[in-house]
Amino acid sequence: MDAILLQILNGLDKGSAYALIALGLTLIFGTLGVVNFAHGAMFMIGAFCAVTLQRLLSLSYVTIDESRTDFLGNPLKIRTPYVESWFGPEAGQAIIDWSVPLAIVFAIPVMVGLGFLMERGLIRHFYKRPHADQILVTFGLAIVLQEIVKFFFGANPIPTPAPEAFSGSFDFGVLLGFEPNSIIYPYWRMIYFVFALIIIGAVFAFLRFTTFGMVVRAGMVDRETVGLLGIDIDRRFTVMFGIAAAVAGLAGVMYTPINAPNFHMGMDFLVLSFVVVVVGGMGSLPGGVLAGFLLGILESFASMSQVIDLLPGINQIIIFLVAIVVLLVRPRGLMGRKGVMEE
């Protein structure tokens, strides 16, 4: 029982990453009709916003300690971050320690800007082009972004831990009357889940309750008619692209303490995020989110050794197997709209 509870928690946690990426992708893919293979790269860039901020905050000056030597026998260079000398060692350390949460503020303008740039400079010329062309150009862009990040940060993962305050685990077991330490869950993963819910809620509220959102939703259903009504739908779509990029980027920022980011993390998520969106159904935001959580939970269950013993290799294929079953049973995924990306 407690094992199952834990896997549900894991599933919700994995699911929130999938759902966040799928949300951004659906905004672009399911609504603007652009197959954006660079979406994974957006996630990755978001994560590297956190790394960049961490690096910026840790910018240091060098003092030489004659009493100690480095590996070559030269006097040891000691680096002291500027923030430590400005705010004192403790406050300085605390600022660096909090670089991931701080990066949220840093990442939003960067990602929105990047999204605008991408839409204005590149994607808008591809709305009328075949999907195949969109795939090629965005895939090319993804490779370019990835290589640029690799050039600056190297290929290895870079540790970006959560603030010390969130490093422990929360004991759920005690709350539910189990033995202590039987169901514990890391604070940061719970924060990730809550954060995902907030972002998802905000995007939905934005689309549902604002005039802007109403126009965009109308544009999703029938772009031409909205255009004929004299509404500048293009401008709104640019904004939507910026929002989608920001959602992906924030998902990346918050993901960094869970797994150290590297330059190809976007590609790792790319295939998966397309599967999630399509299983959810094209053109449906709730579908994408639902599919994200569903696949996250099923993946978690499939990785339990009891299940693997029963069906060897099931943990390797569960996501794809579920995708196949869903798509064969429900022609347009969980909640897909008729006629969207069916040709």
Partner: protein
Amino acid sequence: MFGLNRRDTRFLLIVIALTLLTPFILQPFPEGSALAQFNAGYPDLMQRIAIFGIFAIGFNILFGLTGYLSFGHAAFLGVGSYAVVWMYKLLDYNVLPGLVLAIVTSGLFALAIGYLSLRRSGIYFSILTLAFAQMSFNLAYSVLTPITNGETGLQVYTSDPQILLGENEPNVPHLFGLAMNESYKLELGGWVFTFNVGYYFTAVIAILAFYLSLRIFRSPFGMMLRAVKSNQTRLHYTGVNPRPYTLAAFVISGMYAGLAGGLLAAMDPLAGAERMQWTESGAVVIMTILGGAGTLMGPVLGAGFIKYLEKIFSKINENILEGWFAFLPEGMREVVVWVLSRFTGEGWALTLGLMFMLVVIFLPGGLMEGGRRIAALFRRRPETGKDDSAPGGAPAE
């Protein structure tokens, strides 16, 4: 000739000539010159270009004609390779039984996957094929290790049965004793040209594959597939069920992929699981679009372009760049070498990504479009499409 009209015959003859003369065409620079780095006329690359050309030609039959975008064709490539290596292990190093088995098994595999996937269209179809291929890859890499040898790749061991292995048989892949890795080197002045048995074997198969695809493009069957692409609903109204046609196209292109995979193993007797990964499926999609989807020659060009870039650019390291720019003054040389080395050697992927973007932005319709524009410049008269597929040569969706 060959059941083709005059224009197509001429086209086919040009393709045959180009294919057979590849060892010359890809070796334009004399050995030892600074530009020899750009020579690509060595067996492995020539074989690979021909093989991926076959893969892309087959993919184009499905995608270019019907518009169904499969993201799982790498699975057939892998199946083909495994079939050939298993035939090595069980029978002997003769490539023929393996290639036949590769085509048959990949055809059956494609039939099963196609039957299920073609119940859906558009992106739903793409994701279904992707899911099947990724499942195949993940299983081949892990739990199916007894059959596929997992991470290492399937290869022949001396302890394998090889029941047909004769006394003096070469223990490398061969066709009735003619070893695939045999080469004849022709030295002409400063140039060295390599004629490799394996390359000519694949080249002949590639020509046959190309001819078959030409016939399909021109046949009523091909017309039917184009009809599927332009308007399925209308097809339904006229009382035609398009499913058997698309399924046939899917299976044919799956068999092409299996043949290509088999040939990979025929040239180099190892079958790696990575051949089934989505990146490989993506690669064939990109080759086709890059070259020009729906055109006959485009996919082959795309395949050659990508393989050339990958293999040649990744080998240009800083040392070589230093050599090229040795004439520049020191400071300037460092700058030039530093900048260029971002795009070559370990930076080859960056060049690839940039090329994708540039081609698709400036040449909608792929490399074929570029060729057409250049040809138009020289001819100064309306281009009639010397090497195009004729009707419906527009970029496919």
